[in-house]
């Protein structure tokens, strides 16, 4: 276990192994996303209240899942970087931030598109929407702090600390927003969520969630590889790769 952990810290090893993993994850993501989309849009039954407009959950829910797990991953990677000074963890934390922010944005946009036919408004100050918006702000703060430092090491440690502070705050923000909302307006606009969603509806949703996770993994690995090459460009193994490419092409 520990050996594996130490190996994972080596950029060279990660570069090699992720190069082998990316095709597998990419194919899985593609298959799952195509299967899930076709099933969701063509074969899943329409909702008895919302008709066909509910189908956007097949994008909205996975995006919201990833927005949250992306933040947790960023904070955990940041903590690993802070504690064990692992270079790879710093890079992963840095690469997580823009991807997670994009998924948060996607969740907000699809939520707005869904809100228009369902609630009659693009935006409602609903507890969940508001906490997603705050999550986006937290992501943007980490990205801004990341780019404010010239020293990479310092940038990594400062933004890791900020994302950990954010992680402690996320439950507080979530509950305070929920209580604020219930204090002001009783649940007049919250979507009537049926706990008994039929299987024809939630199975494609599950497939989409899995597909989104695979897609996230692919994008994260690709970004991490690029960042690693840039950071390690003076080391032997990167020069070797460049030479191999050159001679291979020539």
């Amino acid at each position: 276990m520990w050996r594996w952990f130490h190996k994972l810290g080596s950029p060279k090893w990660f570069y090699a192994i992720s190069g082998r993993w990316i095709p597998w994850f990419a194919v899985t993501a593609l298959v799952l996303l195509v299967l899930g989309t076709v099933w969701a849009l063509m074969f899943a039954p329409p909702d008895y209240q919302q008709g066909n407009s509910y189908r956007i959950i097949y994008i909205h829910v996975p995006a919201a899942f990833l927005a949250q797990s992306g933040y947790v991953l960023m904070a955990v990677a940041g903590a690993i970087g802070l504690i064990w000074k692992m270079k790879l963890a710093d890079v992963v934390a840095k690469c997580c931030a823009p991807i997670g922010a994009s998924f948060t944005f996607l969740a907000l946009v699809t939520g707005a598109v869904w809100g228009k036919p369902t609630w009659g408004a693009w935006w409602v100050w609903d507890a969940r929407l508001t906490s997603m918006l705050v999550l986006l702000f937290l992501y943007l703060g980490v990205v801004a702090l990341q780019s404010a430092f010239t020293d990479r090491n310092q940038a990594a440690r400062a933004s890791a600390l900020l994302s950990l502070v954010g992680l402690v705050n996320i439950p507080i923000i979530k509950y305070s927003v929920e209580w604020w909302n219930t204090l002001h307006q009783p649940a007049s606009l919250t979507l009537t969520e049926k706990p008994t969603m039929p299987a024809e509806m939630w199975v494609p949703l599950l497939i989409m969630v899995a597909g989104f996770y695979c897609f996230f993994a692919v994008v994260l690995m690709m970004r991490t590889r690029v960042e690693l090459l840039d950071r390690e460009r003076r080391t032997g193994w990167v020069k070797e790769i460049i030479n191999d490419k050159r001679t291979g092409k020539a």
Binding site: L82, F137, L145, A148, Q154, R157, L164, N169, S176
Partner: protein, 236 residues
Amino acid sequence: MTARVDTVTAKTARVGIFMGMVRRDMTAAFRHPSDLVNPLIFFVVVVSLFPLAVSPESDFLREIAPGVLWVSALLATLLSLDMLFQSDFQDGTLEQMVLSPQPLYSSILAKVMTHWLLSGLPLTLLSPLLALMLFLPANGTQALMLTLLLGTPVLSFIGAIGSALTVGLRKTGLLLSLLVLPLYIPVLIFASGAVQAAAAGLPIAGHLALLGAMLALAVVLAPLAIASALRISLSG
């Protein structure tokens, strides 16, 4: 026996250093009175913009007063964060503070407490005047002062984390607000909620308890984050 005496003297020395730091920061701050007064003037100016921009109707102002007063207090606190670590960073005091055998936790506690004494407390004392100008009823004003008393120290603690993270950077103002404002949201929600509830004649004990819980959490956890943030900023 001697060991015990040693710990006792160490404790009194620690308290002495704590009080010494508070006194030093106070003295330094009072040498530049404008730095202390400017956030307060800002508070007053921002609050008085709302009647001009929206409506001078007393019913309407009474309704928006809790939110307006709290948002303005929050922004004024944000602007006062500069005086926390900036000058100490520039003249090297901060480095000495981190290097000294005195636990960083208590030094940070002293600094944040001083910051609150010089920013949050004056804001609290000034707030009844502005509440009067926005026609907030008397029980609302009382709640406003109570929530400011409990909430502004939390703002100082959270703000100090952001301030410590950005202390070594140029042009920190906008970045600092990006980092800190989302973290201020829970305090804002419960504090202005309490004032609204009080103005409507509802009990506010629950809101105050939650604000107190946040303060307790901030006193315990925030100095740890501030300490490591300072170490990161000084390592560059």
